[in-house]
C-alpha cells in the first residue's frame, strides 16, 4: 500500500470521497442557481430552503403515503418545482424590471418563512430517512470501503449535471434558453412565449434543488436548517465559478468539494474556510469568476 506524505491512503481516499460527495451537492445546487440567474437575473436565496423541501417531501412521501426513495427522487423535485411555479407567477415575475437586490431580498425572506414553517411543525432535531435497500451496503475497494449510497450520490449528480449541460448547450430547447438569456425582447418578437419559458426555467432550477434534497435525505438527517447551512457555501461556489455559467457551476462545484476534502486531510483546521479563502482570492484576481464572462 502506498503512503503520501505520511498520510494513510484510507484517510486520503476517505476524505476525497467525502469531498466528492459534498462537491456533488455543491454542483447540483450551484447549477440550479446558475440556470435561474442566467434566465431570471435573480439570485435565488431560497435555494437552500427548496433543497430542504426536497428532503422533507421525500420524508413525507414515505411517512404519510408509504412512497419510497425511487419514486421520491422523481416526485419530490416535481413538487418543489410546482411550488417554484407558484412563487414565480405570484411574486418573482413582478421583480424582473427591478435591481437584483429585490429578487435577493424577496427570496431570502421566502427562505426564512419556509424554514420557519418547517421548524414550527417538525422541530430541529432532524428526522431519519433510510437508505433504500438496493443501495445499502458497500464495496471494498482494497484501499477503502465505499458505501454504495455515496457512490450513487456521485453518479446521480454527475448524470443530472451533464444532462442539464447537454440540454442547455446542445439542443434546440437550450438554444431558446440561451437566446432568451441574451435578448428576451427579440426572442419574444420571434413568437416564443418567453414568460412561460422563464417560469419553467425557475421551476427546473428549484426542482434541481429538490432533487439534491432527496439525494441528501439518507446521508444527512432531514431537518429544516439543512439548506441554510449549505447554501452559504454554495453561494461561494457560484461566485468562484462565475454567475450564470453552466459548465462553470458544475466544474467548480465538484472541484471545490475535492479541494475541501483535501484540505481536511492536510490542514483540517482550514477545511471550513478554504472555499471562502478561494472566493476572496478569485474576487481579487478575476471578479467575474473563473468561468464567468466579464460584463
Amino acid at each position: 500500500m502506498f503512503e503520501l506524505l505520511g498520510i494513510p491512503p484510507q484517510v486520503l481516499m476517505g476524505q476525497l470521497l467525502l469531498g466528492l460527495i459534498n462537491g456533488s451537492f455543491y454542483a447540483v445546487l450551484s447549477l440550479g442557481l446558475a440556470v435561474i440567474f442566467g434566465m431570471l437575473n435573480i439570485i435565488n436565496f431560497s435555494h437552500g430552503a427548496q433543497y430542504m423541501m426536497g428532503a422533507f417531501v421525500a420524508w413525507m412521501l414515505l411517512e404519510y403515503l408509504g412512497i419510497g426513495y425511487w419514486w421520491a427522487l422523481l416526485l419530490a423535485p416535481l413538487v418543489v418545482g410546482a411550488t417554484g411555479i407558484v412563487l414565480e407567477k405570484l411574486m418573482l415575475s413582478r421583480l424582473y424590471r427591478l435591481d437584483h437586490l429585490y429578487g435577493l431580498l424577496l427570496t431570502f425572506g421566502i427562505a426564512l418563512i419556509i424554514q420557519g414553517l418547517f421548524r414550527n411543525y417538525y422541530g430541529i432535531s432532524g428526522l431519519p430517512y433510510q437508505i433504500p435497500d438496493a443501495l445499502s451496503g458497500g464495496q471494498n475497494l482494497g484501499f477503502m470501503f465505499l458505501p454504495n449510497y455515496r457512490g450513487w450520490v456521485i453518479v446521480a449528480s454527475v448524470i443530472v449535471c451533464f444532462s442539464t449541460w447537454f440540454v442547455i448547450e446542445k439542443t434546440p430547447l437550450g438554444s431558446y434558453l440561451r437566446a432568451a438569456t441574451e435578448n428576451p425582447t427579440l426572442v419574444g418578437a420571434f413568437g416564443i412565449n418567453v414568460p412561460r419559458m422563464i417560469t419553467l426555467t425557475y421551476a427546473f432550477g428549484v426542482a434541481l434543488a429538490g432533487f439534491a434534497g432527496v439525494l441528501a435525505a439518507p446521508i444527512y438527517s432531514v431537518n429544516p436548517n439543512m439548506g441554510a447551512d449549505l447554501i452559504i457555501v454554495v453561494f461561494a461556489v457560484v461566485v468562484i465559478g462565475g454567475m450564470g455559467s453552466i459548465m462553470g457551476a458544475i466544474v467548480t462545484g465538484f472541484g471545490l468539494g475535492i479541494v475541501e476534502g483535501l484540505t481536511r486531510v492536510f490542514y483540517p483546521a482550514g477545511s471550513a474556510v478554504v472555499i471562502f479563502v478561494i472566493m476572496a482570492i478569485v474576487l481579487m484576481i478575476k471578479p467575474e469568476g473563473l468561468f464567468g464572462r466579464s460584463a
Binding site: 434546440p172 438554444s175 431558446y176 440561451r178 437566446a179 438569456t181 441574451e182 435578448n183 425582447t185 427579440l186 426572442v187 419574444g188 418578437a189 420571434f190 413568437g191 416564443i192 412565449n193 418567453v194
Partner: protein, 245 residues
C-alpha cells in the same frame, strides 16, 4: 420589380398592413404622433426620414415592442394594437432589428433555426443557403464571430424560414460596405419576387430607391408624405429637404 413600381395599386384592395393614427411612447416621452400608412401584399415600402424621426419606433410599435402605443395597426385584417409581440409574430410578422440581434451564445445554424414557424410557405434551409452562401460555410461559427455584413444577412435569413409574410427590416444597410449593400439589395429584390411583403426603414435613400415600390417620409413622429418610386426623380428636391441632405 420595376414593373410593380410602375403599376398603380388597386386602391380598393385591402392592405396587408394598415397603420392609422399610431401614437407611441418610450416611458414618458411621446415619440409617435399619429403615423398613417399602409402596405399592400407583395409590396416593398420604405420609411424614410432623418435620425430620430420615428422610423424605428414605428417598426417597434408594429411589432408590439414599444412600451405604450395607441391608434390602430391592422395586419391581414387583425387589429394588433393590444397584442403581445409574440402574438403579433405568430400572425406572420418577421422582425429584423436595427442592432441585428445575433445571439453570441448561439452558432450561426442555431441563430438561423431559432425563430419558430409562424405560418406556411417559409423558405427551406437549402434555399436560404442558396441566397446566403456564406451562412452555409460558417454555420458552425459562433453567431457574433461573423462579419457585420454576414450578421445582417443572418438576421434577415432567420426570418425567412418561419413562414412570416410581412418582413420588418430596420436599416439593413447601416454601416456596411457598398458591395455588401448591393448584395442585400439583390436579396430584397429576390424576396419581393418570392412574394414577401417588406417594410424597410432606411436612411440611405439611394438604396431605398433601388428596391422599393413606394416611400413614406417620416418626420417628428408623423408620416408627412408618400412618394411612389417611379416619381422619385420628380420629387428629389422635396425629398432632400425632408431628409436634410
Amino acid at each position: 420589380m420595376t414593373d410593380a413600381a410602375a403599376t398603380p395599386r388597386n386602391a380598393t384592395a385591402r392592405p396587408m398592413l394598415d397603420v392609422s393614427d399610431l401614437q407611441g411612447w418610450y416611458g414618458e416621452s411621446h415619440v409617435l404622433h399619429g403615423i398613417d400608412f399602409s402596405v399592400q401584399e407583395g409590396e416593398v415600402v420604405t420609411l424614410l426620414g432623418r435620425n430620430g424621426a420615428g422610423k424605428t419606433s414605428t417598426l417597434l410599435a408594429i411589432m408590439g415592442i414599444l412600451g405604450k402605443r395607441s391608434g390602430s395597426i391592422r395586419f391581414a385584417g387583425t387589429e394588433t394594437i393590444d397584442l403581445q409581440p409574440r402574438q403579433i409574430a405568430r400572425l406572420g410578422v418577421g422582425f429584423c432589428p436595427e442592432e441585428r440581434g445575433i445571439f453570441a451564445s448561439l452558432s450561426v445554424e442555431e441563430n438561423l433555426t431559432l425563430p419558430p414557424r409562424v405560418g406556411d410557405g417559409g423558405l427551406s434551409i437549402d434555399r436560404i443557403h442558396e441566397l446566403f452562401p456564406n451562412l452555409k460555410e460558417r454555420r458552425r461559427s459562433q453567431g457574433t464571430k461573423l462579419s457585420g455584413g454576414e450578421q445582417q444577412m443572418l438576421a434577415i435569413a432567420r426570418i425567412l424560414r418561419t413562414g412570416a409574410r410581412l418582413l420588418l427590416l430596420d436599416e439593413p444597410t447601416e454601416g456596411l460596405a457598398p458591395v455588401i449593400v448591393q448584395q442585400i439589395g439583390n436579396t430584397i429584390r429576390e424576396l419581393k419576387r418570392e412574394g414577401f411583403t417588406i417594410v424597410l426603414v432606411e436612411q440611405n435613400f439611394r438604396f431605398a430607391a433601388s428596391v422599393a415600390d413606394r416611400h413614406y417620409v417620416v418626420d417628428q413622429g408623423r408620416v408627412v408624405d408618400m412618394i411612389p418610386n417611379a416619381e422619385l426623380d420628380a420629387n428629389i428636391d422635396k425629398l432632400h429637404r425632408y431628409l436634410g441632405v
